[in-house]
C-alpha cells in the first residue's frame, strides 16, 4: 500500500463535470460584468428618457440579477463538485493509509475475525451452493465441475460482486489468517505463523505451490516457443482500445498462439516492440501442455518463474528484442501478470506496461516504468494478487454491470476482454492528467513507425 494513483472513471467523469460547471460559472460572470457596464450607462437613468427606456432599464436590472444568481449557482456547484473530487481522492488515500496502519498493528486479529465472518456467513452460502450442485448432479448425472461452473453462471451475482472481490483481496493478502479464521483456529496460534512471515500473496501462493506439488498439482515444467506466423501489414496501436483488441485468442485459434510481438521500424531509430500477452487458457491445477494455466498463475503470484514467463522472455529474444530496445508490455489476466514480471525483471528497456484485469498487484515495478492497470470492479481476478504495492501505478477501475445485465454464459464475465474493451474506451477519453500522461506514452509509442511486422508465438510446456 502507498500513495499510488487510484483513479476511477467515475471520478474522472466528476472532474469533467466540475470543469464544465467552472466554464459555465466563468461565462456567466463575464456576461454579468458586461451587462453591469451597460447598466451603469443606461439611458433610462438619463434625464428626459422616455418611459420605454425606463422600462428597458428595469428589465435590464432584472436580467443582470438573474445572470448573477445563475453565475453564483454554477460557481457554488462547481466548488462543491471540485471539493468532492479532492475529498474523494483524500478519503481514498486516508482509507488506504488507515487500512495499512490497522493491518500492520492488528493484522492477525483482524484477518482471523474476517475469516470467522466468512465462516459464519459464508459457510451457509457454500453449503447452499454445494447442496444445489450435488442435487443437480444427482438429477442430471453431470460432473461436479460442470455443475459448479453452471451454478456460478446462472447465479452470476455471487462471483460478479464487488463484496466478493473485496473479500478475495483481503483473503489473498493474508491467506493464513483468513484460512485460520475460516477453520476456527484460535488467533494465538496464528500469531506464530505470521511471525514466520506468511502474510503476503507471494508467500501464500508459494505455500499453495509447495503443498500442491506434493499432490501432483501446480508442477512447473520446461517450455518451448515457436513462431507460427508473420504479418507485414497493420498499423501500430494508437489507443487503449486498439491495445485491448490486439490480444490473440488462443482458445479459438487452431495454433493456440498466446504471444504477439509487433515490431515497429522507425527511420533513424532502434526498432521498437509492442508485446501482447494473452491470459490463462487452462484452469486445471494439473499441468498439461499449456503454460498459460493455473500453475502459471500460482507461480506468477508467488513471483517464481512460471513457464509462461520464460516463454515470453524467450519469444522476445527470438523476435529481436534486446536490452536496449524500447518495449511496451501489454497483458490480459495472466498475461498482465507476466507483463509486470517482465518489467520488474529489469532485462528490457520498458517504456510502459498496460494490464487488463491482471493479478499483478503485489509485484514491485521500478518507479521509472509507467504502469496503467485497467480493472473492472466486479472482476475477482485482480483481487487474487492482494493489495497494490506499486506506488506509481495508475489504476483505472470501472463498474461494468451497473447499467447492463450480468451475462450468464460465463462464470466471471467481468474478466472477459470484451468488457475490458468497454473500460478501455472509457479510459481513452478520460481527462484525468495521470491517465492522459500514460496514455500519451502508449499511444505515441508506435506513432512514427513506417513499417509494422507482427509475429505470433505459441508456447508449449516440455
Amino acid at each position: 500500500m502507498g500513495s499510488h494513483s487510484h483513479t476511477g472513471v467515475a471520478l474522472d467523469s466528476l472532474i469533467d463535470q466540475s470543469s464544465s460547471l467552472g466554464v459555465l460559472a466563468t461565462e456567466l460572470r463575464l456576461r454579468a460584468g458586461e451587462l453591469l457596464g451597460v447598466l451603469a450607462a443606461s439611458p433610462a437613468a438619463a434625464l428626459g428618457a422616455p418611459a420605454s427606456a425606463v422600462e428597458a432599464h428595469r428589465r435590464l436590472e432584472d436580467a443582470v440579477n438573474a445572470v448573477l444568481r445563475a453565475a453564483s449557482a454554477a460557481g457554488s456547484l462547481h466548488d462543491a463538485v471540485h471539493a468532492s473530487v479532492a475529498r474523494y481522492e483524500r478519503a481514498e488515500q486516508l482509507a488506504r493509509d488507515a487500512a495499512a496502519k490497522v493491518a500492520h498493528e492488528f493484522d492477525q486479529g483482524l484477518m482471523w475475525l474476517l475469516g470467522v465472518d466468512v465462516r459464519l456467513f459464508g459457510l451457509p452460502l457454500l453449503v447452499g451452493v454445494g447442496g444445489t450442485v450435488l442435487l443437480s448432479k444427482w438429477l442430471t448425472g453431470n460432473s461436479a465441475a460442470d455443475e459448479l461452473r453452471d451454478f456460478f453462471r446462472t447465479h452470476g451475482r455471487i462471483l460478479t460482486n464487488r463484496t466478493t472481490v473485496a473479500i478475495i483481496r483481503e483473503a489473498a493478502n493474508d491467506l493464513p489468517d483468513f484460512a485460520a479464521g475460516l477453520l476456527g483456529v484460535p488467533p494465538e496460534f496464528v500469531m506464530s505463523a505470521n511471525d514466520a512471515g506468511l502474510t503476503t500473496p507471494r508467500t501464500d501462493a508459494g505455500a499453495i505451490e509447495t503443498v500442491g506439488s506434493a499432490f501432483g498439482l501446480f508442477r512447473e515444467t520446461g517450455v518451448s516457443v515457436k513462431k507460427t506466423s508473420v504479418f507485414e501489414f497493420g498499423k501500430p496501436a494508437a489507443s487503449l482500445v486498439d491495445r485491448a483488441q490486439s490480444f490473440l485468442s488462443p482458445d479459438s485459434d487452431p495454433n493456440g498462439e498466446q504471444i504477439r510481438i509487433d515490431r515497429y521500424s522507425v527511420p533513424g531509430q532502434a526498432d521498437r516492440f509492442d508485446v501482447f500477452i494473452a491470459g490463462t487458457q487452462d484452469f486445471s491445477p494439473v499441468s498439461g501442455s499449456e503454460p498459460f494455466d493455473l500453475t502459471g498463475d500460482i507461480a506468477g503470484i508467488a513471483q517464481n518463474s512460471p513457464a509462461s514467463y520464460r516463454a515470453v522472455i524467450e519469444a522476445m529474444h527470438q523476435a529481436g528484442v534486446t536490452s536496449t530496445s524500447p518495449v511496451v508490455l501489454n497483458g490480459h489476466s495472466q498475461g498482465g501478470l507476466i507483463a509486470v514480471m517482465v518489467a520488474a525483471s529489469g532485462q528490457f528497456d520498458v517504456k510502459g506496461v498496460l494490464t487488463f484485469g491482471a493479478p499483478a498487484t503485489s509485484i514491485p515495478v521500478p518507479q521509472h516504468v509507467p504502469v496503467l492497470a485497467l480493472r473492472n470492479s466486479e472482476d475477482l481476478v485482480p483481487a487474487l494478487g492482494g493489495y497494490d504495492t506499486n506506488t506509481h501505478a495508475v489504476i483505472v477501475e470501472r463498474p461494468v454491470f451497473d447499467h447492463q445485465p450480468i451475462p450468464t454464459e460465463w462464470a466471471v464475465p467481468a474478466h472477459r476482454l470484451e468488457y475490458y474493451e468497454q473500460t478501455a474506451r472509457w479510459a481513452d477519453t478520460a481527462t484525468d492528467p495521470r491517465v492522459a500522461n500514460i496514455r500519451d506514452i502508449l499511444d505515441g509509442f508506435g506513432a512514427d513507425a513506417n513499417h509494422v511486422e507482427s509475429t505470433l508465438w505459441v508456447a508449449t510446456r516440455t
Binding site: 476511477g8 467515475a10 471520478l11 467523469s13 466528476l14 469533467d16 463535470q17 464544465s20 460547471l21 466554464v23 459555465l24 461565462e27 456567466l28 456576461r31 458586461e34 451587462l35 457596464g37 451597460v38 450607462a41 443606461s42 439611458p43 433610462a44 437613468a45 438619463a46 434625464l47 428626459g48 428618457a49 422616455p50 420605454s52 427606456a53 422600462e55 428597458a56 428595469r58 428589465r59 435590464l60 432584472d62 436580467a63 440579477n65 438573474a66 445572470v67 444568481r69 445563475a70 449557482a73 454554477a74 456547484l77 462543491a80 463538485v81 463498474p399 451497473d402
Partner: protein, 89 residues
C-alpha cells in the same frame, strides 16, 4: 442614480442600440452556456449524494433558464425603447 443626458436623442439612440446589442449577445451566450450543465449523474454518485446532485443541477438549470427568460424581456424592452426614440427622432 441620475445621469444627465448628453448629446440629446442621438446619444440616447446610440446608448439604447449598444444596450440592445449587448443584451442580445448575452442572451445567446447564456442560452448556449446551458449546454455546459451536466445532463445526468454520469459521475456515478449513489443514494443521497446522487439525489442532492440532481437537485442542485436542476436548480442551476432553472436559474439559467430564468436568466435567459429575463434577458429576452430586456432585449425586447431595449428594442421597443430604441424604436420609440427613433420614431420621435
Amino acid at each position: 442614480m441620475t445621469i444627465p443626458m448628453q448629446g440629446g436623442s442621438a446619444q440616447l439612440r446610440a446608448q439604447l442600440d449598444h444596450q440592445w446589442q449587448v443584451v442580445s449577445r448575452t442572451l445567446h451566450a447564456v442560452h448556449s452556456s446551458a449546454g455546459h450543465i451536466p445532463t445526468s449523474n454520469a459521475a456515478g454518485w449513489h443514494g443521497p449524494a446522487s439525489i442532492g446532485y440532481q437537485i442542485a443541477l436542476e436548480i442551476l438549470r432553472r436559474e439559467v433558464a430564468h436568466a435567459v427568460e429575463l434577458l429576452r424581456f430586456a432585449e425586447l424592452s431595449s428594442s421597443e425603447a430604441l424604436v420609440e426614440v427613433e420614431h420621435r427622432g
